[in-house]
Subunit: 315 residues, 2 copies
């Protein structure tokens, strides 16, 4: 297992710079009053494909040598990683194969196809997904880019925290959602090198709290099929992300689906940005634990903004 | 009638700088592909009270001498001007009285009160509003800050175009919604001084197209009670804004309510920002008139983002 270093983050940043946006910071005096903290929201939902995952995906895609690039990339994902990998592959002009459950939302499939990704459908089970993926990879020779348990991906995600530290002085902590742990791991990697005094806090849905339980138990606990409105955070930690969570994360807090939905609506109303439920978990845990954050300068990573506008969770 | 000059815009910008945000520019490759243009969206919805009107309101409020400031400001408005004037008055610590129809949405009244504005309700008719407003002004001595037909307000709105020109090189045109014409007038004022080669294009709802008809007729036409989803654009031109529209605006285009709603949803989806219906009219007319905008660098002023999230027009 290769553990990426901060030099990998620097290399990634140079490699992906033409393909990502240096996303802006949003603040709201009203949310500051409400929480008693100074909140800085880094808008990764403003990446062209709508999620931070374009950073890691682009780092993997643009780091391939010519021979491998000709065979393209492959992954399994029903979410933002699939569209971000397709987007990065499209920009390099190489093939991207994605295995998605046939039950994935049509909008997500449409986005992958808009970016030229080729979808192979599987049944919505781990066994079907793995069997299908093995077939696709054997047939295409595509390089497997895991959604998070890949040093190239983690190094790419780490570029976000580097920009954050450049954009906002004196942060006391950075809060990001945790699912598989890719963004949290990249954040730990960068802050350990650049600003080790900044705490890294993970925010997780109560209904998919495997990282919180892993953190407390001291070993990886994976749930079979958690259900939460925060559908980007269903996957478990893997060895590489567990390394960063165990060694660098200060604390993990959880929020209920009702609290996540309320925070999501507050963000839409007062930041006037479109964020997905997974991205509202940090604000939810900040509102829920005022004593932890009051008086502090808090960086919040807004991970994505891909939502079905016809089906909002509060309507 | 005092017609503000570009020096007034410069003075306004210095005066209001501590009270407004220098709003960022959003771009979407997808919307560019869709329109064949290069679109740059200036996010005035990111002002703290959610609309560009804080610029003009703050210029009026912070330009008052001490004696007048002690008596405060007053206005009639059921929309963003009421909350932006209350916000500016709160920041200066002076009274703000607002006459609003009793039928105004509760959310708008709540926002005015959150910023310390005192609401006097009137019946939803011009005669009731004017009678009430005369009473309030007589009782308080508050300085009347008209929502748009006021040189201080127009000079304040002109600061937006100044930032825009600094932020984006080589714009071919700037498109903004037109209601009473305050933002369009400020934009004309600034661009005439700074970049006279940049065309100013106004976007208006088909169902409240009095500015378009005025522009074609050569004199002000005011409608009695137009109805459109773009509820920020119901008011007619007045002499001061008509001066700028008649002399500086290149063209006015209109869009139907259905086209406005579709453009609003597209902006939410691909820019991932929350914008109100009035702010979607520019994108609607750009989508509707591809031949006018194709191949051009187009600045779009996103005027506001105050929407009732429980009642979205496409649901």
């Amino acid at each position: 297992m290769y553990i990426p270093t901060y030099q990998d983050v620097l290399d990634a940043h140079e490699r992906i710079a033409p393909h990502i946006r240096r996303t802006p910071i949003r603040i709201s005096d009203h949310l500051n009053d409400l929480t008693g903290a100074r909140l800085f929201f880094k808008c990764e939902n403003f990446q062209e494909p709508g999620a931070f995952k374009v950073r890691g995906a682009a780092n993997a895609v643009f780091g391939l040598d010519a021979a491998q690039a000709a065979r393209g990339v492959a992954t399994h994902s029903s979410g933002n990683h699939a569209s971000c990998l397709s987007y990065a592959a499209m920009r390099r002009g190489i093939p991207c194969n994605v295995v998605m459950p046939r039950t994935a939302p049509q909008a997500k499939k449409d986005t992958v196809r808009r970016y030229g990704g080729v979808i192979t459908e599987c049944d919505p089970s781990t066994s079907s997904r793995e069997a299908r993926f093995a077939q696709v990879q054997a047939a295409t020779g595509g390089d497997f880019v895991h959604p998070y348990n890949d040093p190239r991906v983690i190094a790419g995600q780490g570029t976000c925290a580097r920009e954050f530290i450049e954009q906002v002085d004196g942060l006391d902590c950075v809060v990001a959602p945790i699912g598989g742990g890719g963004m949290i791991s990249g954040t730990c990697l960068t802050l350990a090198a650049l600003a080790p005094e900044v705490r890294v806090i993970a925010a997780e849905p109560e209904q998919a709290d495997d990282a919180w339980r892993s953190f407390n138990a001291g070993y990886i606990i994976a749930d079979d099929a958690p259900r939460t409105i925060a559908d980007g955070l269903l996957v478990p930690l893997k060895e590489l992300t567990w390394h960063f969570v165990r060694n660098h994360v200060t604390a993990i807090y959880t929020a209920s689906d009702a609290e996540i939905i309320e925070a999501m609506k507050l963000a839409w109303k007062h930041l006037r940005i479109v964020i997905e439920p997974s991205s509202a978990v940090p604000l939810a845990i900040i509102l829920k634990n005022p004593a932890v954050f009051a008086g502090q300068r808090v960086g919040v990573i807004v991970t994505g903004g891909n939502v079905d506008l016809d089906r909002l969770p509060w309507i």
